[in-house]
Amino acid sequence: MSMKIFKKILMLLAVLMMVVTPFAAITADTTSSSSSADTAKTTDDSLKKVKEKGTLVVGLSADYPPYEFTTKQDGKTEYVGIDIQIAKKFAKDLGVKLVIKNMNFDSLLVALETGKIDTIISAMNPTEERRKSVDFSNIYYSGGKYIVINKKDKSKYTSKESFKGQTVGAQNGTLEYNLIKQQFPGATVKGLAKLNNLIIALQSGKVSGVLMEEPTAKAYVQNNPNLYAFNSKVSVDVNETGAAMAFPKGATALTQAANKTIADIKKQDLLDKEYVPEAAKYMKQSSKHNTMASYWTYFAKGIEYTLIITVVSVLIGFVLGIILALMRLGHNKLLHGLAVAYIEFIRGTPLMVQVMFVYFGIGAVIQSLPALAAGIIAVSLNSGAYVAEVIRSGIESIAIGQTEAARSLGMSQKQTYQYVVIPQAIKNIWPALGNEFITLIKESSIVSVIGVGDLMYQTQLVQSATYKGVAPLAITMVIYFVLTFTLSKGLNYFEGKMKHE
C-alpha cells in the first residue's frame, strides 16, 4: 500500500517538474527581452545601416491576398500584392535593393526584434500590444470591414442588423471575431482558423456571412461569381485596424523615411490607382492557373518536409524510447518513476498541444528556435513515449527462462540483455516500430499549426492560392495514403524476410 502511494507521489513530482520548468524559463525571459529593447534605443543608425548594406530586408507572410501572396510567372513563384508594391517603392526611395523574406505571420515580430529583417510590411495592424515591442509607421492603408455573402442572398442581407438569428463567420482570434460578438445584434459567431474554410462554410450554408477586411473580401468576390460583399459599417478604431509598417524599437530614422514614402503614396493616390488594381489582376491570373498540376511544387515540398520530420523524429524517438524503456524496466525506483510519469503524461496529452507547447514554451526561451525544429522536437518527444512502450512490451515478451538460462551461465544482467534478450526482442519490436513510423507520417500533419511547411501546411497554401477548398485536400489524402501504403508494404516485406532467417 505505502509503495503505491510512494509511486503516485513520485509521478506527481515528475509531472510537476516537467510543467514548471518551462514556465520558470518564460518568466525569466520577459525580463531579458525588455533589456534588449533598451539597448536598441541608445543608438539610431537604422537608416544609415540599411543604406550601407544596400538592401532593405522586408519580412512578410505571403498568404494574405491582396496584400501579399504568390503568383506563378513563367513557372517561377513571385511575390505580389499591395504590400510588395509599397516595399518596392520604399526600397526605391531609399535607393537600395529589396529583399523579401517570406515567413509565418507570428514569426515576423521575433524576426524583427532579432535583426533578421529590417521591417515588416505585412498588413500588420499597429495594435497597442504590438506597439510595446516595435515602432510603427503611419497607417498606409485602412479599409473597412466587409461582409461576404452568397450572391443569391443579396436582397436578404443588407446590413449587419439583418443577420439577427443567423450565424456569421470570422477567423479565430481576429478583430472581426470580436466585432461580430459586439456589433451584430442577435447574431451567433462561428470561428474557424482559415479564411478558405470559412468561404467553404459560407457556400455550404453553414454560415450566412463572413466578416473580413475590405480588400480581402473584394478579392474573394472578384474570383468567385457566386459571392457578394458589402460594407458592414461596423465602427472600428483606425489605429487598431489600419495597416502599417513595423520597425525595431528606436529605429526612428528608418520609420521617418517610411512615413515620407507613405505620404508620397497617399499624395499620388497610388494605392487606388495602381496597387489595388494590380493586385486584383494577379489574383485573377492566379485563379486562371487554378489547375492543381501547376502547384505540384507545393506538394513536393510538403512531402519533403513531412518525410524529414517523420524520419528524424522516428530516429530520435527510437533512441529516447530505448532509454525510457530501460529506465522503466530497471530497478532504480527514481528512474522508473520518472519514466512512467513521462510516458503516461505524454500519452495522456494531445500531440497538437505538445507541438504548440514546445514551439511557444521552449520557443520563448530560445527565440531563434525555428518552427521546423520545434515540430521535430515535439514529435520526437511524443514518439519516444510510444516507442518506449513498444520496446518494453517487446522485452517483456521474452520468456523469463531465457534470462535465467543466461544468468545461470554466469552472464551479468547487462550481458544477458545485450546478447540474449535484446536481439530476440528486436524481432518482436520491429513490426510495432514500423507501425509507429506510419502513424507518425500521418500525425506529423499537426505541425502545420505552428507553420512548419509540411504536406498539410502546403495544402493550406494551395487552398488559399487557388480559392479551392476540397481539391487540394483530396490530393493530399491520396499522397498520404500512397506514402503510408508503400511504407507498410515495404515493412511487411522486411518482416517476412526476418521471419525466414
Partner: protein, 246 residues
C-alpha cells in the same frame, strides 16, 4: 570419495509472499556426489534447487559455495560463482535465435573471454559427447525435445562447472526421449561430476544417485542411500509417497 563439502545449505528459508515454501533446510553436497531430490509436486524441490545458485533469492539462511555465502555477496561475485554451477532447466531454455554451436559458445566467449577458435573446439567436443555432433549448425527449432535438452547440458558443461544442477530435466519430454537424456546424465555422473538432480525418474535415482533427498512440506524429510530411502523409508510422508509411485 573425498569428503570435501561443495555446497553447504544452512537453515534455508524461502517465502513467496505469505507462503512459506522452504521452511528450514540444512544439508550439504560433497564433491563428486550425485544427489537426487525426490518428493511430491509442490514440495519445494525446484525452489530449493534454484536457491542453490540464487536464481531464487532465499528469504533467510545461507548457501555456502567455495567458502562464500551466496546470499550475502555482490552481484558481480555472484555472477562469477554462478559460472561454476551449471544448470539445466525443465524447459531447456535454449536461445532460439542462435544455432546450436552459438548457444554453447556464447557464455565461454562473453564471460570467460575464451577466443572463438577454442570455444568452437570445446563446443564441438561437447556436442560429440552428447551425441549431437551433426547438429552443430541447426537452430533449436528444428531439434526434438531430447536433442534440445542434450544441447542444454552441453551448453552448461561448456563453462566447465564444478557442479551441475538439474531441474526436472526429463519432465517436459516425450517418453521415448527420456532415455537419451538420462544416458548423457549417467555418463556425466560416471565421469565424477558433482550433481544435484530434481527428478521424478525413480529408476534413474535408484541407479545413479549416491544419496536420495526426500522433500515434502518445505523440509528435507529423509536423507539416505537409494536403498535406505526406497526400501526402508522411515517417515510417514516418504512411505506414503513411495507407495503411490512404485
Amino acid at each position: 570419495m573425498s569428503n570435501k563439502k561443495m555446497i553447504e545449505v544452512q537453515n534455508l528459508q524461502k517465502k513467496f509472499g505469505d507462503n512459506l515454501v522452504l521452511k528450514d533446510i540444512s544439508e550439504s553436497v560433497e564433491q563428486g556426489q550425485v544427489i537426487c531430490v525426490i518428493g511430491p509436486s509442490g514440495s519445494g524441490k525446484s525452489t530449493f534447487l534454484r536457491c542453490l545458485n540464487v536464481l531464487e533469492r532465499p528469504t533467510d539462511g545461507k548457501v555456502i559455495f567455495e567458502g562464500k555465502d551466496l546470499t550475502h555477496i555482490s552481484e558481480k561475485e555472484l555472477d562469477s560463482l554462478r559460472e561454476k554451477m551449471g544448470m539445466v532447466f525443465q524447459g531447456f531454455n535454449l536461445f532460439p535465435n542462435m544455432s546450436v554451436l552459438e548457444n554453447i559458445k556464447l557464455a565461454p566467449m562473453k564471460v570467460k573471454n575464451v577466443d572463438e577458435v577454442q570455444a568452437e573446439k570445446t563446443a564441438k567436443e561437447l556436442l560429440a559427447k552428447v551425441g549431437l555432433a551433426d547438429k552443430a549448425n541447426q537452430f533449436p527449432d528444428s531439434l526434438s525435445g531430447g536433442q534440445k535438452q542434450r544441447v542444454a547440458i552441453a551448453r552448461a558443461l561448456a563453462m566447465d562447472p564444478e557442479v551441475m544442477l538439474f531441474d526436472e530435466p526429463t519432465s517436459a519430454l516425450d517418453p521415448e526421449m527420456v532415455g537419451e537424456v538420462l544416458k548423457v546424465m549417467r555418463d556425466l555422473a560416471d565421469s565424477g561430476m558433482t550433481m544435484v538432480v530434481v527428478t521424478h525418474e525413480m529408476g534413474f535415482a535408484k541407479e545413479v544417485a549416491d544419496q536420495i533427498w526426500f522433500m515434502a512440506d518445505g523440509y528435507v524429510q529423509e536423507v539416505g542411500t537409494p536403498e535406505e530411502v526406497f526400501e526402508h523409508p522411515t517417515s510417514e510422508r516418504a512411505k506414503d509417497f513411495l507407495a503411490k509411485i512404485l
